[in-house]
Amino acid sequence: MTEREYNECVNLYADNVYRFILKNLRHNEDAKDVVQGAFEKLWINRDKVENGRSKSYLFTIAYNQMIDHIRKSKRIVLSEDFSENAKGETSQKHDAKRILNEALYKLNEKQRSLVLLKDYEGYSYDEIGQITGLNESQVKVYLHRARLQLREYIVSPENVI
């Protein structure tokens, strides 16, 4: 990977990685640190990483650093949900999104990561498995469980849309 290709990766994937990490950690500064660390590692190992695999490499590094961060800090996130629009509108769509976000944070970090990698980035089961260190069948089972949990939370009586 050349210098130009690396800088192009910054333009293409920095937002995606940041969005993924921020959704997991729900902390702006921690998410930035993880993103910085991931790109730093990509730069260091640029000779070993092909340009076509740079995105998955970034997500792999970022995911591992995120897990390490969670285990080290054991932080209870009390910050606001950055995916929310702070305009104060109370539309049905807005409620649905809020409920979904609440349901998302009912999942453990692994399930949440799998759902985010699938829905945000569109990775396949196999690609998610390479990023998270799971095999394809494990990804499939964990992801289905997470999806059903989200479903149950959405249709629960207190959250009926």
């Binding site: 920095a14 937002d15 940041y18 649905a96 979904l100 998302l104 569109g122 089961y125 059903l148």
Partner: protein
């Protein structure tokens, strides 16, 4: 293995861990009865066992496997994830088109699909950009090869100049070797920067005698040639060493400042090499040279700088033509005014200039040699100077 007082500890540990067979447990019980002093040791070991009965896991629901996920729900989950193959996708779509409960389930599952918020961006991308440090550009191999070729050419030229010092050429294609005394290479006298040609006084008479001899021998009807020796001075020492049998004599005539050739001499005039001991002026001298014969009789080997002379009607153009080797001491250039030959053609005459006793600049000789090689190879006729990179250096 039978239990005894030397190996009973191992049997007691296995007994406590419940790792002994029924027969072995019975043997341990018998041993303990026979050795009552060791019974207390077995009891103490049994009291070290930890019992886990007090720890209970609450809320086991999340461990239970959901065995009642229907095949349809499985397909719908795969469909939401986009993991169905084309054929299976069509099957699910056909079911959704007809099955109402499947449609409801599909609607709920679609709501579990997250959508990325594109407003969330990483603002500080500048901190992520990197720049590689400057790197050394490898030297291209062809540049090295070109440099080696140039260096080799320079060495070859220098060697040629160094070796070629003893050959002179008289008349048309005839080379005459120098005398021993005259074969010594004369090095440039750095103090005489503008001195072109010198000839020792004792050599001059020998040259004159030789000219007389060749005059007598010249009975083949060749047109006498008045050779005007143009001696140019330059800052580099130009030295022509006199050679035996040279027919060129020094002429003390000086060239006019307008560089026009001097009037021809008659045939009775004895050609002589110009003996210029002064410095600092450009001079062209006229020489009478009577070729010995017309046959090309070059003597190969150590040739002096050969002067190829071409003549025009009222002007002479002197060219330096290099042979294989060039005497670095030879810098005199002979300008020949030829009478028109019988055939009306210009005659090329080769003039050997004796350089024995005259100092020349090694650099000047090297430059001349290089110039001759260039002219010969490129067929570019230059002036009297040496052209290097478009600049012509006048040779005196």
């Amino acid at each position: 293995m039978t239990i005894n007082r030397h190996n009973y500890e191992e049997f007691f540990l296995l007994y406590v861990d419940n790792e002994l067979s029924a027969t072995e447990r019975k043997a341990v019980d018998v041993f303990v009865q026979e050795n009552p002093d060791l019974q207390i040791e077995l009891i103490l070991l049994q009291e070290t066992l930890v019992k886990a009965d007090d720890i209970v896991l609450d809320k086991k629901d999340w461990l239970y496997m959901e065995e009642d996920i229907s095949a349809l729900q499985e397909d719908l989950l795969l469909y939401v994830d986009g993991e169905l193959k084309e054929a299976d996708k069509k099957t699910v779509e056909s079911v959704l088109a007809t099955n109402i409960s499947a449609q409801k389930e599909w609607a709920v599952l679609q709501q579990t699909k997250l959508q990325p918020d594109m407003d969330v961006v990483f603002a500080d991308k500048q901190s992520l950009y990197r720049k590689e440090p400057g790197r050394v550009v490898p030297f291209k191999w062809w540049r090295v090869a070109a440099a080696a070729v140039l260096l080799g050419f320079g060495i070859w030229t220098g060697v040629s100049v160094y070796k070629n010092s003893n050959t002179t050429k008289i008349g048309k294609g005839e080379y005459v070797d120098n005398k021993k005394t005259s074969t010594d290479q004369k090095t440039a006298d750095p103090d005489q920067g503008n001195q072109a040609v010198r000839q020792q006084p004792d050599e001059r008479s020998a040259v004159e005698n030789t000219v007389s001899t060749t005059t007598q021998k010249n009975n083949e009807g060749q047109p006498a040639q008045n050779i005007k020796t143009a001696v140019e001075k330059n800052n580099n020492q130009s030295i022509v060493s006199p050679k035996e049998n040279t027919t060129v004599q020094n002429n003390n005539n000086k060239k006019p400042d307008n560089n026009l050739p001097l009037p021809e001499r008659n045939r009775s005039g004895k050609p002589a090499l110009q003996n210029i001991n002064n410095s600092g002026s450009n001079e062209t001298t006229v020489q009478n040279v009577l070729p010995s014969n017309t046959n090309s009789n070059r003597v190969s080997g150590n040739n002096d700088a050969v002067v190829k002379l071409t003549s025009k009607e009222n002007r002479t153009i002197v060219e330096n033509v290099s042979t294989n080797k060039t005497d670095p001491n030879i810098t005199a250039i002979a300008v020949v005014n030829t009478n028109k030959a019988a055939d009306g053609e210009n005659n090329n005459r080769y003039l050997d200039v004796d350089d024995d006793k005259q100092k020349r600049s090694a650099l000047g000789g090297f430059l001349r040699k290089a110039k001759r090689v260039l002219e010969r190879n490129t067929n570019v006729k230059t002036g009297d100077g040496v052209k290097i990179a478009g600049f012509e250096i006048a040779l005196k």
